[in-house]
Symmetry: D3
Subunit: 286 residues, 6 copies
């Protein structure tokens, strides 16, 4: 399988800085600045407190270098690694003030993204051998879609479209407005560019039958029973990608994957996966 590719810093640097700035406010870290001498240095370890799939490690650690240009970071793990409880993921050496002030910003990012990667990994493992893949949705946390989709990849999942702009998904309301599945597909075909894929969401096998009379790239089988899914897969017969969606949880994923669908898309991965517990163990500053 292809390795996880890091996102260019240009894509997330401003977001980390904005987060750090909101924590510092206009007055800065008034506790640390009062207690820790300006020139004290220290070494700190970023540690996973529970077994996790890592995501966002370099992104999180950028918070340290944003407050101390000269901080040196040594990574013991990379995004996509599985680590056990107690594992050191990285060590940071630099200004004690910078490390203490950036700690929470870094850990919030790392815990959130690793939480998504860990949850994704869990579901991916449950469906091993079925031939299906796990995929995210647009049900992401406000402001964090790009990073959350990256975390899904770190967990071994793959990405659905990034937004309303990069692929077509014809849903129930579009079909209703258009007056049916066929006119909706035809309207879209007539207007989108040739590099755009088209997926149609169907609620019934009758809709599926109509959709399959058109050359579409994917079919979203929405909220169907296992029997319906299996029958849908048979009807699609490899002519399009078959995607199951609708309230899928880690508990229901295996059975759905076994119906033969190509893709399971799960909003749960990004809107409800809990954060994983990560911490910063700091040596006594010198």
């Amino acid at each position: 399988m292809s390795a996880l590719e890091p996102l260019p810093a240009l894509l997330w640097r401003d977001m980390v800085a904005r987060d750090l700035l909101l924590d510092l406010g206009q007055a800065g870290d008034i506790t640390t600045d009062s207690v820790v001498p300006r020139d004290a240095t220290t070494v700190a370890s970023v540690v996973a407190r529970s077994p996790s799939r890592v995501a966002g490690l370099e992104i999180a650690c950028a918070a340290f270098t944003m407050l101390d240009d000269d901080a040196r970071i040594v990574y013991q793990a990379v995004d996509g690694d599985d680590v056990s409880a107690g594992s050191v993921l990285a060590t940071v050496e630099g200004s004690a003030r910078a490390i203490l002030s950036a700690e929470r910003t870094a850990l919030n990012l790392l815990g959130h993204l690793s939480g998504i990667a860990t949850a994704t990994r869990g579901v991916v493992r449950q469906i091993v051998g079925t031939g299906a893949r796990i995929c995210d949705t647009r049900k992401t946390t406000p402001g964090l879609r790009s990073l959350e989709k990256y975390a899904v990849r770190a967990g071994g999942g793959s990405n659905h479209r990034y937004g309303l702009h990069d692929a077509v998904l014809i849903k129930d309301n579009h079909i209703a407005v258009a007056g049916g599945v066929s006119p909706a597909i035809e309207a879209v075909r007539a207007s989108v560019g040739h590099m755009i894929k088209i997926e149609v969401e169907v609620d019934t096998l009758a809709q599926l039958e109509e959709a399959m009379t058109h050359p579409v790239e994917a079919i979203l089988l929405d909220n169907m029973t296992l029997d319906e899914l299996a029958e849908g897969v048979a009807m699609i017969d490899g002519q399009a990608i078959a995607e199951a969606s609708g309230g899928i949880t880690p508990d229901t994923a295996r059975a759905i994957a076994e119906t033969g669908v190509d893709v399971l898309s799960m909003g749960w991965l990004t809107h409800s996966a809990p954060s994983v517990d990560v911490a910063l163990d700091i040596e006594l500053p010198r």
Copy 2:
């Protein structure tokens, strides 16, 4: 109890717009724009699919008016309301395109914030009668602290400090650097303004004893057993606010509250509460 106060739109308008823009990308909603006539209008209902404490309703619905200046929104609920499954929270009447394009942005915000409010409400109810209050931490989702702290208030909780800038929290590492609890408190007292409260985090009752020799406004009893907490409360004896913290979950909250602490601060509320299920029921556009 004091009513929940809405945040001025100036505080969140840009964030909602930014989120909407990332969904629209440079090409806009290519599905909706292909299928739905430009001048079609519709009426849509924002609906809770499960029992929830509402938070972020007006903030979420701003996504609709950002795409259709003339959209009319009628609210059937306000933030802080408890609603049953199936409740209509608001109806939106306006451009069918705008409503379909803004749907996901609006629901992601509403589901996330109501998830936090609902989780907070749950814990608040569990400790009813103990005299303690539930409070958040700085373990918030990147980029969303202001809104998440608002959602905690909507759930009946209260807010800890907003960042490193607005209150002092002397933690273990600060104490280690300063060479003890007393020098740390003294260093802070000498430098912060008179409108800043000082809290000291203590891991042991011995540290607590030392801290209580200084006039500090609050003591954070970190990761203590129930017995330690009870003894700590006795030692504090009303001279400072007694706050319990450290991995508190809905399951452990009641027992902790019964030790007599004034405040339970819970990172769980904001880093791991699941989203609640909210949806948009759209009438056939006209």
Copy 3:
């Protein structure tokens, strides 16, 4: 043919404001402010000085309302219309100062975008009946890609990918790095999501033959002779979209389209189309 769909103002409002602000600088319009009374009003007509395909009319006119909230604009044309020399496209009634100060910002936008639409229309007409469509590239003017791609649609063309993020285009250098067409396609297949289309750029028919052994959605036939293009189309045989590219101009488009390719992509549309001449005829302010 599907009508042209307007872009939501949210996508371009800030760009127009930024442009206006750079013209106003810190001192504002020192000429107009010195000469034109503050409460003078006027009526102005936006006029095409040469036959044009209109694009960006509402976007351009937003400059007027940004300086005068109460300006009333009546449109006599919409984007996608063909107009003759001298046609009035819109009339603006409002503050004389606002109209004079916003004039150049508005006309620069309108002239530039209509220039692209007019150029696109010209090429589209030349290939009428061939079954091919005209498409843009990523060779756009810095900062203006979204609007220029909109202008291409206004001219009757369609859009290629918007950036590096929304579709795969495997080019010569990718093939060289991967060690051949096949490994490049396989590497991409293994890593991109199921809603992403894959196109392969081939320089020779031998490369094309190899590419066609894989299920790819589109083939870019780069800088080929008419004979090669015709043979390439035959080899592709409807199994993928056949796209011709490489220095295509209005002069060469017809012959290329007649080779049977599905799409002609032309950088010329956006990097070298001249602006069309638009002007503002202003009545004497009152």
Copy 4:
């Protein structure tokens, strides 16, 4: 002649980054990231495909270092140089991914700005010996005025005002509102600071005669015939700068310059000059 002075990076860095970000979107360069190993490096040459006057070379190459801090760039040309077809302008050595991902952003900038410089150079050469200079206008491409005016200087032209804020240009509508040339000039004189130059646009020699009764720094002779221009120059008689404007093209420039005007201002340079062809030749990454 004075050498061309580079613009401080502070003036354009954000613009280049914004452009790069729009190309990368939220997902990054999905083709390159799938195919090119993370640690592959390469050497690439920025090459002019046709004879050009270079402009924007360092600005364009900043796109490479924005994606790879350690990229090394060696320049074989500087802005303002004339280069022949096939000339290497710069070589870039660094991350193969960074170079491939930044390629289009860099070339779009360089091609656009060099297109303007090359067009300007062409006109400047045509009027050699006449004593006139070529100057731009405010008819620039939206968002690019600062860089386009720099490109005009790179081409040997000079700059008219940058916006409505830094010089006065009294145009026909101002004169109409003021009730004549004289009251317009007097109104302006009474209100602008002593470091602001005043130019008056005149359509007729009668207006010119009136304008010359006031101490103004420049006269714009708008859309006049060659005879009118010559007579206008005689009337101005060195008391103000004589500027010709109105639809001047490379074909008409020489004759206009020979009328004795000091300046020819040409919107064509910035709104309609075609891009020049520049490319990136990339060695096989290692």
Copy 5:
């Protein structure tokens, strides 16, 4: 005298919003939100507590409408008015919360800008009858140059250049680098556009003599004695604008103006003028 012209809101709206946002922080106005009912309305008067020249009244009052779209403001004064102590400048009717929360932002702006206008007016009055005018410098408060230069105009002064970009001022260091006054002027002449004015700063009458051998638009006589100024004015003899500068205060202005210089430029107006006392008298909210 020409009336003061208001700046378009586009030029300052974001600055006022940013200021308001820094005051509201992430939590908003926690005092007002706790005490004042959400739907309470009130009427408040913006009052001058001392005799002042008003500047920034509409700009300041925009803070109220930013928090309450429906606030109604009635102006009893306009920028440039002289008002006595106790004068009501405007009344604001609207949400009591909005008015209380925006109060300080509004008053800080109004007090600062009116302070500059009042100081300018004072100096302008002292030199009445001398024929000289009072002008600002680039010694402005960080971030506020545009508004401060507007306030200087409100006080009856006029503006020097807005920045390094809109006019040439050759200073001592430029002369030193160039190797003398003449080469400095010649270098500038050869490179700047025809709409840019050139001023030369001279420290001695010998330098002035050299400068006057070139056609420059203005001469800055820096830190000269009254006798030197008078002699300088005689030497310039109307061939350029004569500007006196260097530590001029309200106490020294009259004598300097009487030397015959055309302009006195005073950094004091913007870097050291005290704020004027303005207040908000609020009726009991209903």
Copy 6:
């Protein structure tokens, strides 16, 4: 006394860059670029022209490195130092163009902030021995609150709240709306978090008496006579911090401090302190 702690560059870097950009405009420093060779270097000294308390030295000097990455700055003073007239505060070695172009931006910042620090120091010295401390208010210059509060600390003062969000100050209008001192305090207590301090502004001793029946952290004695202040201090009797406010000037501070109040808050420090005179002495560039 605790040393002054520098603000992280992240908090002010963008503000300095914005300021520099407004000075450079779109054309840059047209004087310097014309006269000073591109590769000339120089050494410049930042000098205090009058006795001052330094504030903002590193912040100001960042302007130089923003235009020349390689500029080397050696500091001879740090913020919080008292320096005599003629003292060199720092020397800058680097590009002559960068130094000349950044000069005014740097000096405006340094002069403004040192002006506030110097004014604060003056008042702090006047009240030596009284046990009171000098504190700022929210009457700051628009856009500069964070830096001005830092400058107050550099002058030996301390900070009141940073905005409406980080502490409660119940003022006359809040009391009026609430229907009295007690209900106002109770409303606030019921709604704010446990880390927020509450201060009540009282105009009369009767109000003070009522306020003292509640546990509030601070009392602002507004515009009281010396006798009232002394009596107020006696009534407060150490149960809350006693703060005097209302038009306090350097002339009245000592007597007020002697009444026994803990804090004097002075708007004058930030809205009306004059700038101190700082300059850049530049060696002849090489």
